[in-house]
């Protein structure tokens, strides 16, 4: 657990935040900023998913529903009722939190756990996607376009940099929330529940209440990401924000980087989106690029999951463990001598 010494984690975090926010000063090209924004957005939704799946053990396969709820709520409120997306964002978050709490509560009330819970959330995700694909009020499967305008008060910016800073802010906030959760009473309860739920209950841990709270938090934050998606990419449809694609992002980033850890999702997704960008640049020509990049992508995901079950954070710990002074600290932890 070398990375969990508070001062080291804090130092890494502060450096990370500084580097992050200063990037637009060095990166001027719109294309590069867009790529970075895309990567940060992916990392953000990974961190959100990690709260539910990594920390609370809620393997949600329907988390894209919260993304969609966020995106659609703020967009509909803006287009039909002229409510600024800055406010619509929070309304969407609350709606997502309510849905998330409800599903989790109902499942745990009826002992729907583990993989069965995953299937229940999977069903929920498909249900919502199907609903939005046929509901005319939200323009069904055609989707909704947003017009870019110079109105920061309505969450529209003409330049890329402000969007970059917004997603940075969201990412940093979600990481701070994760950090605080780890150290809080709820964080300890999550550890107990993950380790042995029956024993945890006998020690006074209300496992269903704890899970509901974390799921609500995760759903809320994910929905905020949905609004960001709408405001930046300016087009939402059930195929973009309610399909399996964002879910695959959330899972890949988190599982590859190390679920249940602070930086895992970020590192995992950073690795994968860079890999993706690199592959896209390879001279295979034509549609072959898309196909081959997906194959290589899938293969590397498979390899990581088979051989590095603790993700890249686990690999990082193993590598750092080769340094002698950290090795010594580890042996004290192992044997207590």
């Amino acid at each position: 657990m070398f990375f969990s010494t508070p001062s080291l984690k804090r130092a890494i975090f502060i450096l990370f935040v500084m580097a992050l926010f200063s990037a637009p000063l060095f990166v001027k090209s719109d294309y590069h900023l867009t790529v970075l924004i895309g990567a940060l957005y992916g990392a953000y939704i990974c961190v959100c998913w990690n709260l539910a799946a990594g920390y609370a053990g809620l393997f949600s396969l329907g988390h894209q529903a919260f993304l969609g709820l966020g995106a659609y709520t703020s967009t509909i409120l803006f287009i039909k009722y002229e409510i600024t997306p800055w406010v619509g964002m929070f309304v969407g978050g609350i709606i997502a939190a309510v849905f998330g709490s409800f599903i989790t509560f109902v499942c745990y009330r009826y002992r729907v756990k583990g993989m069965f819970f995953a299937v229940a959330t999977l069903a929920f995700g498909f249900l919502l996607q199907a609903l939005f694909m046929t509901w005319d009020y939200v323009n069904a499967s055609t989707g909704i376009w947003l017009t870019l305008q110079n109105k920061p008060q309505n969450f529209f910016f003409m330049a890329r940099a402000p969007y970059y800073w917004v997603i940075c802010g969201l990412l940093v906030i979600s990481l701070l929330i994760t950090y605080c959760l780890e150290r809080s009473r709820l964080g300890y309860y999550m550890v107990a529940i993950r380790e042995d739920e029956d024993v945890a209950e006998s020690l006074g841990v209300n496992s269903s209440k704890s899970k509901v709270i974390v799921m609500a938090l995760s759903a809320f934050l994910t929905a905020l990401g949905g609004t960001f998606y709408a405001q930046f990419y300016l087009y939402i449809s059930p195929a973009c924000v309610l399909s399996m694609d964002p879910l695959i992002t959330m899972q890949v980033g988190t599982l590859v980087g190390g679920s249940g850890t602070l930086f895992g999702p970020v590192i995992g997704w950073a690795f994968f989106s860079l890999l993706g960008e690199y592959l896209r640049g390879l001279p295979f020509g034509g549609t072959a690029v898309g196909v081959i990049s997906r194959i290589i992508w899938g293969l590397s995901l498979l390899l990581v999951i088979l051989f590095l079950p603790t993700g890249m954070i686990g690999l990082g710990r193993k590598l750092v463990g080769l340094l002698p002074w950290i090795r010594k600290k580890a042996s004290i932890r192992e044997t207590g001598s």
């Binding site: 009473r185 309860y189 550890v191 042995d196 209950e201 006998s202 020690l203 209300n206 192992e334 044997t335």
Partner: protein, 256 residues
């Protein structure tokens, strides 16, 4: 020690836990049959009986892990038989398990602090209680060792520490001395006496009869889910029914 078990030392005065006609059936199998028991505050109460006599089932019923079929369980005058395990823990009943189940991949310290959070209002208060409890159970020097890397006696002490940290009024121990050497058994006995002196009532299932007889103020004996005897250790030692339950009817014990 201010945090844990600060109560009046009124021994054997008040009925803390009352089991009335408690029964539990699993389909056709009756695991516990009409057990009546009353545990008084401040005593060490031993529960003995052959394997399969329903002792652990009784614990599971009291702690809320199992739902009873019939009867009632009253703790401090409150009916607790319909409550969930975590609610029962909040009311002051803690239990350990027959096979020690520490949280394997976290440290002893983290194990105990999770228990401490049961009553502690903040993480820092819980931290203080954790240190106190670890010191009482002689685990302070192992506080950063992961659960899976502890020895058996250390795991038993950790189970005890974790349950103690929840600040229980009634501590239920399921064979806390199993697998310990005679010296370790004596140390554990000493520890339990100290816990009792802090005002915590102890209900203990144990097979090491020597230890249970010397430790307990009173003892109840279960056989096939029914209570067949109850009394002081001396009375139990002389009870013919108890001897028969353990050794079978052919044996006769010479008067001791």
């Amino acid at each position: 020690m201010e945090g844990v078990g600060a109560q009046k030392k009124a021994r054997g005065s008040m009925g803390l836990l009352k089991l009335s006609k408690l029964s539990k059936s699993f389909g056709g199998l009756q695991a516990v049959k009409e057990v009546n028991l009353e545990i008084n505050q401040g005593e060490i109460f031993g529960l003995i009986g052959p394997n399969g006599s329903g002792k652990t089932t009784l614990f599971n019923l009291i702690s809320g892990a199992l739902r009873l079929t019939e009867g009632s369980i009253r703790f401090r005058e409150e009916e607790i038989s319909k409550l969930k395990p975590h609610e029962i823990c909040k009311r002051g009943i803690a239990r350990t398990f027959q096979i020690a189940r520490p949280f394997a991949d976290v440290s002893a310290y983290e194990n105990v602090i999770i228990g401490a959070l049961n009553q502690a209002s903040s993480v820092s208060t819980a931290a203080r209680i954790t240190d106190e409890v670890l010191s009482l159970t002689h685990l302070l020097n192992k506080k950063n060792v992961n659960g899976k890397n502890l020895t058996i006696p250390e795991r038993r002490r950790l189970e005890l520490a974790r349950s103690l940290a929840t600040q229980p009024k009634l501590l239920m121990l399921d064979e806390p001395m199993a697998g310990l050497t005679p010296t370790e058994v004596e140390e554990m006995g000493e520890l339990l006496r100290r816990i009792r002196d802090m005002g915590i009532t102890i209900l203990i299932i144990e097979h090491i009869l020597q230890a249970v007889m010397t430790l307990s103020d009173r003892i109840a004996v279960l056989n096939y889910g029914q209570k067949i005897a109850e009394g002081t250790p001396e009375e139990i030692g002389r009870d013919q029914k108890v001897v028969e339950a353990y050794l079978g009817e052919e044996y006769v014990i010479a008067d001791s």
